[in-house]
């Protein structure tokens, strides 16, 4: 499994996806610099809250989600398209371990530069919320990468084609629409629990009407649900890839 993870890391380092990763992580930092140069928003605690919302929307909710979509859906599909999957599946390594090894490489690969970009943005914005907010956001980034990576890895295993479109549909419906509804249904989104993690770790003053939308699950509940989603997605993906046939298209 460690060799599979090493192979996956080398794969992600090679090729043009690295440029996309770099651009996707530099853009938010650039935006943060622009916002910092524009001066104060509203001052005081309201400014801290707005900057926290900004950091959350950009990092765990947008950039990490999109990067997990790109890399997660192609964990096995890229091997199938490149026809290298034969090498992985004709080795004395169970298929579920192959998938797990790839997922294990994906999480740190996305988390490390995301955390670096987040830290840069936090510094550029004048350290809003202090170390507690940075810590909370970092946990949310880690959670986002781990959970979305698992979900989109599952999407990539279950659906052979149109994985990006399906992933975007999931993101738009669950993570961008349902998660903002002030109703029980928002608990169906990963974002709901990521937001709760940030709220519990930091000491931001959030108005009651905003709290209804943002979510107020306990830290334990949030961590438990996020962990369960990731485990379930990885488990299901491992099961599916063990049972499924992967036929490489014959060369003409």
């Amino acid at each position: 499994m460690a060799t599979v993870a090493w192979l996956q890391l080398r794969q992600m380092l090679a090729g043009k996806k690295v440029w996309m990763l770099t651009i996707f992580l530099l853009l938010p930092a650039g935006l943060s610099a622009l916002i910092a140069a524009a001066g104060e928003w509203r001052g005081g605690e309201e400014e801290e809250l707005l900057k926290a919302i900004y950091l959350f929307m950009v990092y765990p909710q947008a950039v990490c989600l999109l990067l997990a979509l790109l890399y997660g859906t192609s964990l096995l599909n890229a091997e199938l398209e490149e026809k290298t999957i034969t090498y992985l599946f004709t080795r004395p390594v169970p298929r579920w371990k192959v998938f797990l090894g790839k997922y294990a490489a994906l999480v740190p690969w996305l988390a490390a530069p995301s955390l670096a970009s987040l830290t840069g943005s936090w510094l550029l914005l004048g350290r809003p919320g202090g170390a507690a907010l940075l810590g909370g956001m970092a946990l949310a980034v880690l959670g986002s990468v781990a959970v979305y990576g698992a979900i989109f890895g599952l999407v990539g295993v279950v659906f052979r084609t149109r994985t990006l479109v399906i992933g975007v549909l999931y993101a738009v419906i669950f993570e961008f629409f349902l998660s903002f509804l002030p109703a029980v249904v928002s608990a169906l989104s990963v974002t709901h629990y990521l937001r709760s993690v940030v709220l519990k770790v930091t000491d931001l003053e959030v108005p009651e009407e905003v709290l209804v939308i943002v979510g107020n699950a306990s830290l334990l509940e949030s961590a438990g649900v996020l962990g369960a989603i990731a485990l379930a997605a990885v488990g299901l993906a491992s099961f599916v890839c063990t049972r499924r046939e992967y036929v490489v298209a014959e060369q003409l």
């Binding site: 043009k16 996806k17 996309m20 996707f24 853009l27 935006l31 622009l34 916002i35 524009a38 001066g39 104060e40 928003w41 509203r42 707005l50 900004y54 929307m57 950009v58 947008a62 950039v63 999109l66 979509l69 790109l70 859906t73 192609s74 890229a78 398209e81 149109r162 994985t163 990006l164 479109v165 975007v168």
Partner: protein, 333 residues
């Protein structure tokens, strides 16, 4: 008995003129794209907005017919719901001078929202594999071993995407115009609104061309269409998010360049300029007691159409440069 020659026979007839050859690439690309069930269903859905706008044009025509006393009718309410009460009442009193503006408002809404989003979807489905598949299969060797120039190749590929996009923007727009004429009280409406057709053409081009060239540029940069799709979706989603964030920053509000991250906002600004919606917005604002009309919220863009147009042209030009360079790559030593 003579022995017949069954070997290769050279074509003795006229060859297709060079300026038409790009159409072969477009035809092949369109045939391939239409194999997608998702695209066919989407093209079918693209006509759904006409179920709203068609009746809206009927309502707008119906309530201005002097032969009918319909100020209190459901159609009048429908027209008021879109235009706002004050503007709709003024329009019913003076239809001749206000008809071009009201039609402009409706068509600009049509292109800004429903057809703009459908264009994004169609480009997402059709365009990313157009060049990336050729990169993967090294098809450039096949293309450029025929008497086809790089410009013709680009025209052919762009033609594929633009054809599909025109089925959700230009064609429904033209049909809507025809329907609106047909549902108007008299043919005199044609004289009032003859500028609408060239505006429809221009708006379709604004909606389609920069996005098409951008996604083709992404397609030329990779051998895997998925990455081009992702880059296109990412530019749209992140761009839109960044735009909305920037609009909330007090120190940046009012800046004329805020639309830059959002292709949608830039396109809407240009569409608003093409249909001159600011005139009808200004009139509606004057008529509204609060000074800010309903139609302002729907159609007004605070950004300069000229600046947005320059931006979109620049984006198109940059995409074209990337495309040309990428297509030339196999021929560079």
């Amino acid at each position: 008995m003579p022995i017949f020659e069954l070997g290769y026979r050279h074509w003795e007839g006229a060859l297709t003129p060079a300026w038409k050859r790009w159409a072969t690439i477009t035809r092949a690309g369109v045939a391939l794209a239409f194999r997608s069930k998702v695209l066919r269903r989407l093209l079918f859905l693209a006509w759904a907005p006409l179920l709203y706008f068609g009746p809206l044009f009927f309502a707008v025509g119906y309530v201005t017919d002097p032969a009918r006393g319909v100020r209190g009718s459901d159609w009048a309410s429908f027209a008021r719901a879109f235009l706002g009460t004050e503007l709709a009442n003024r329009f019913m009193n003076d239809p001749a001078s206000l008809r071009p503006h009201v039609w402009s408002a409706i068509f600009s809404h049509f292109f800004m929202y429903s057809q703009g989003f459908l264009t994004f979807l169609v480009l997402t489905i059709v365009a990313p594999p157009l060049i990336s598949q050729d990169v993967r299969s090294k098809a450039f060797l096949l293309y450029f071993s025929k008497p086809i120039t790089r410009v013709e190749y680009l025209l052919g590929k762009a033609g594929t995407a633009l054809f599909c996009v025109s089925l959700v923007s230009l064609l429904p727009g033209v049909v809507l115009y025809a329907v609106s004429i047909a549902l108007s009280p008299s043919m005199a409406v044609l004289a009032d609104t003859f500028v609408t057709l060239p505006r429809i053409l221009t708006a379709s081009l604004v909606v389609a061309l920069p996005g098409t060239l951008l996604v083709l540029a992404f397609s030329s940069l990779t051998s895997d269409g998925r990455y081009a799709t992702f880059a296109w979706i990412g530019v749209w989603m992140l761009g839109e998010m960044f735009f909305r964030i920037l609009e909330q920053v007090p120190g940046l509000q009012g800046s004329g360049w805020l639309f830059l991250p959002s292709i949608r906002e830039a396109s809407n600004a240009v569409i608003g300029g093409v249909f001159e919606v600011d005139q009808v917005v200004a009139l509606a604002d004057r008529l509204n007691a609060s000074g800010r009309s309903q139609i302002r919220a729907m159609l007004h863009s605070p950004y300069s159409p000229a600046a947005a147009l320059v931006y979109l042209l620049g984006l198109a030009g940059l995409s074209l440069a990337v495309l040309y360079r990428r297509i030339s790559a196999p021929m560079r030593v």
